[in-house]
Amino acid sequence: MSDLPIDIFTIIDLIIMSMLLVVGIALVRLNNLFAVVMLYGVYSLLAAIWFVSLDAVDVAFTEAAVGAGISTVLMLGAMLLTSREADPTPVLRRWTSFLIVAATGAALFYATLDMPSFGDAASPANSYVGLQYMHHTISEIGMPNVVTAVLASYRGYDTFGETVVVLTAGLGVMLILGIGVSGGQAAPSAPEVQSKTAKKSKDVSVKSTENHHIVLQVIAKMLIPIIVLYALYVQFHGDFGPGGGFQAGVILASAVILYSLIFGMEETRRAIPPRFVQIGTALGVLIYGGTGIVTLALGGKFLDYNVLNAHDPVHGQHLGIMFVEIGVLVTVASVMLAIYYGFAARYRELKDQDW
């Protein structure tokens, strides 16, 4: 079989793997939450780099945008709203946890004894369905990026489910934290929330500091159109290179979040009202599913894009993939904003407690 020569790629892999291990161990040992969250970002970014080295460019892009980007920012936000330090783990719990983990790990190490070698082109995983996708895409989808073809067409139904998962997360954050659809602040429903007497005066001070950042405002105004343009590029270039609705949605949302950081929440809520965001979360899923309903109406099966163009099925595939990717974009961007609104609406309470 393919014997692995120790070449430059192996060395890169080894370096990344050892860095991942070091970060992992540091994560276990540290109790400062700020350090833990930042290390998680580092871990994700390292993983993304490794994915590039393993040829998974689309995954690397998403991991960098979602894992190292959105996840880390969300964790930082939640950490600011909660606490900075974690209590150390009691000794007994450490050992019981270790035993569970050791048993699980042992099962996996046992499994490696029969695993095909790394990089083996003839392993079942790499030679059966995976390889067929490469062959079929040429004639059936006609799209250079096979990952996009499989994601949006062959396994497009999975991606539909995934878009719904994103919507659910958005709904979840809106339900749990509120999004302020009715105009004012999200009213925390928990009766135990501490007094908010100092709130009014703080509002004023927050506003006034935000208005001082003129340099930031000018730069942001220049940057935001470029970010939006880049998002659109990522969206529509997904057929040819790494990219697609998920990454583009995250980038698009980040443009709005940047706007909100510089110009303030109130301004952003005026520009993009929460109700609009809420409808957007739902709309994206409806665009995706609607594409499937259209294919049903045209006599095909659910998400059978071939029927979208009666004469040229390959063109139908291109159309279908474009529609569903737009659906993904709309839902992902809206949900990211909904999550941001949900968390951002809480920051005033933070000022009372933690700063």
Binding site: V66, G67, L74, S83, R94, D114, G119, A121, N126
Partner: protein, 198 residues
Amino acid sequence: MDFVLGHFNYWVVISLMMTGLYVVISTGNLVKKLVGLGVFQTSVFQLYITMGKVAGGQPPILVNLPELEAQAEAGAEHGAELVAEIATEHSAEIVPDPMIASGDQPAEVPAGQPLDVELSTPTDLPEVTSLPSEAFDPLMGVVYSNPLPHVLILTAIVVGVATLAVGLALVVRIRESYGSIEETDIDEAEYKTAGQGS
């Protein structure tokens, strides 16, 4: 030695997975639990991506699609047949009889069907799997890594961040209600209220 080189990656990935799992189980801090969950999931992604790597391959983006299309449609008349053949073969074989429920009788497997040989030694399969490439190589000799794990992991990453968002929203509300995000404090608070309530 070959075995170690070929499986070293898996061991590292497994160790990372277990590191993440350990953090989830051992810590009593809710934010750190979610971080651990993130590390656990990210490491599982690495397991998938590692198994999809093909030595000497490149990302699954077809580098010369126009020529490939030409070859598939017109150029090699043989090739077009083969591509079609793969499709019909599978639709004919799996679809009408999914036999999902009667797994123990293997279906009539046509000769040349990839992979229906001893699974205990999956590394001995090269000639069976080279079905298309012997007569006609639709990929024109370029080696690509496997796209399928990438697709699955793209899905899993998004599912992961969705879970994380809901989890963090809950943590924020828990902090507001209990004033702490440590499991021990929360349990204590519950114990107290239970004592007063009854």
